[in-house]
């Protein structure tokens, strides 16, 4: 399994979801392709940023934090 620290996450579908397609908003790990399925959300009041796009979620969380400085929680059930 690739980690999102890699430039390419080989299990990720072009739309950013799990290749299986059914786990876009899930958490944990995809039983179909083994991709991680974390959920990340912004804890800054009024921001509302949220992401659950499989492995690229973590890179997206860092990008949002870098852009805004907002605190973000990444959760894996």
């Amino acid at each position: 399994m690739a980690s999102p620290a890699d430039s390419a996450a080989p299990n990720s579908a072009p739309d950013g979801g799990c290749r299986d397609g059914r786990h876009r908003t899930g958490t944990g790990i995809c039983p179909a392709c083994g991709e991680w399925l974390p959920t990340a959300w912004c804890r800054a009041a009024g921001c509302g940023w949220r992401e659950a796009i499989g492995e690229p979620t973590i890179a997206a969380a860092v990008a949002h934090h870098t852009e805004t400085g907002h605190p973000i929680r990444v959760l894996i059930d």
Binding site: M1, S3, A5, S7, V62, G69, R73, V74, I76
Partner: protein, 424 residues
């Protein structure tokens, strides 16, 4: 997994490497004040450079290149004299700023030769009993006044600083800080296996994790865990363990407050500090004065004489898994699981900071010197976790950590044991 070139980019810390350039933006501890008081000249290896830390007779601290510009001998065997450090070979003398102050047998004296013999030097500062060095470009940033560095000893509190050279790359050690579930196995199930064989009381660290989470905050990442039987109101989840980017983990509980500080010496060695404060229960406060008369600095033993890692402390167990990955581990053959997402988050944060440093952007925790002195408070658990196995002695379970090598902690624990026995 990480491609080998990405792994190298994240791991290596030499002068012309991305991570080396990033680390040169930070103040890094290289010794303790107690260490330097015992011997005012100390050889130091930091970010691939061989250096000598010294305290001149004037009290000024200096950090200069180890190699003498005269004929290359080690200044690490030199001696302080007045305002500088003398080379052991021919007595050339250098200031903390690297100026060559004297060349005793050069006749006639040559100002030009003296100027040419200037050596590399770096700023050093003392804070909280540690001595920090800065190897980057001027101006140096603020030396962060993290909360524990600002704590002071008291009639019920003492400081303790353990250190060890860990023979592996710094990133392997840091990744462990984002890996909550290893506690359940390495410090729970494995430790209990060894304790059971030795006929000793088990730890309480084997609880199964049911949820882990990570908060990306302005100073780094907070790691959270929820184990069977816990709720989100428990400190393990509510408070968690903060990591001050890039290399300081804060942990504590039951009277302990501590930083684990990982300082890259080179690509294959890391100087690890366990920077601890212990708050002693009031009924044993009369013992603290005696304890504080002992040195606050000690070396932590991780391996036996044959090189086998000791399995009797939490910290030597950690060192075992860090070092056995290899001096600089490969990551193109790893198989990360869902419990490793904190590691992925840290790698992503590291990637973003490497990029920011390369493009002239703001880098996390590098603050203008004008902000110096501002207290940086980090959250800390008070009553969660624990270790187990201390019996009636409230400090004894800390002897299952690196603290067992502390003269202060081990003496205190012996004294408390005697009091407990006497009380019957």
């Amino acid at each position: 997994m990480l491609h080998p070139d990405v792994n190298e980019r994240y791991s290596r810390v030499g002068r012309d490497t991305p991570a080396g350039a990033l680390y040169r933006r930070y103040w890094l501890p290289v010794a303790t004040e107690t260490d330097l008081a015992a011997n005012p000249v100390k050889r130091v290896r930091l970010l691939g450079e061989d250096l000598v830390l010294f305290r001149a007779e004037t009290g000024d601290l200096g950090l200069v290149a180890e190699r003498c510009p005269h004929r290359g001998a080690s200044l690490g065997y030199g001696f302080p004299d007045g305002a500088g450090l003398r080379c052991p070979y021919h007595g050339w003398k250098f200031s903390p700023q690297g100026e060559c102050l004297e060349q005793p047998n050069q006749m006639p004296p040559s100002a030009q030769l003296q100027a040419r013999a200037r050596t590399t030097s770096y700023p050093v500062r003392a804070l909280g009993g540690l001595i920090f060095a800065y190897l980057g470009d001027s101006p140096a940033p603020a030396l962060p006044r993290l909360d524990l560095f600002a704590l002071e000893e008291s009639p019920t509190r003492f400081r303790d600083i353990g250190y060890a050279v860990i023979p592996c790359n710094w990133l392997q050690i840091m990744e462990n800080s984002f890996d909550p579930t290893h506690v359940e196995w390495l410090h729970g199930r494995l430790f209990n296996y060894h304790l059971e064989r030795a006929g000793e009381e088990p730890t309480v660290l084997g609880g199964h994790h049911i949820k882990i989470g990570f908060d990306l905050v302005d100073y780094g990442i907070i790691k959270r865990r929820l184990r069977e039987g816990q709720t989100e109101d428990d400190e393990d989840w509510k408070v968690g363990h903060p990591v001050y980017f890039p290399n300081i983990l804060k942990v504590g509980g039951y009277g302990l407050s501590s930083f684990q500080i990982r300082v890259p010496m080179d690509d294959h060695h890391t100087l690890h500090f366990w920077y601890c404060y212990y708050d002693v229960p009031d009924e044993y406060a009369n013992l603290v004065e005696e304890v504080r008369a002992l040195p606050d600095t000690y070396e932590v033993k991780l391996q036996d004489a044959d090189g086998n890692f000791l399995m009797d402390t939490i910290d030597s167990q950690d060192a075992m898994v860090w070092v056995t990955q290899g001096a600089l581990t490969t990551r193109d053959d790893e198989h990360l699981s869902s419990s490793d997402q904190g590691i992925a988050l840290y790698r992503n944060l590291l990637r973003s900071q490497l990029q920011a440093n390369e493009t002239g952007g703001a880098v996390m925790n590098v603050h203008d010197a004008a902000t110096e002195g501002e207290l940086i408070q980090l959250p800390q658990e008070k009553k969660e976790l624990g270790i187990g196995g201390g019996g009636a002695n409230p400090m004894a379970s800390f002897l299952r950590t690196q603290g067992v090598y502390s003269p202060r902690l081990s003496t205190l624990t012996q004294r408390i044991d005697a009091m407990v026995r006497k009380a019957g």
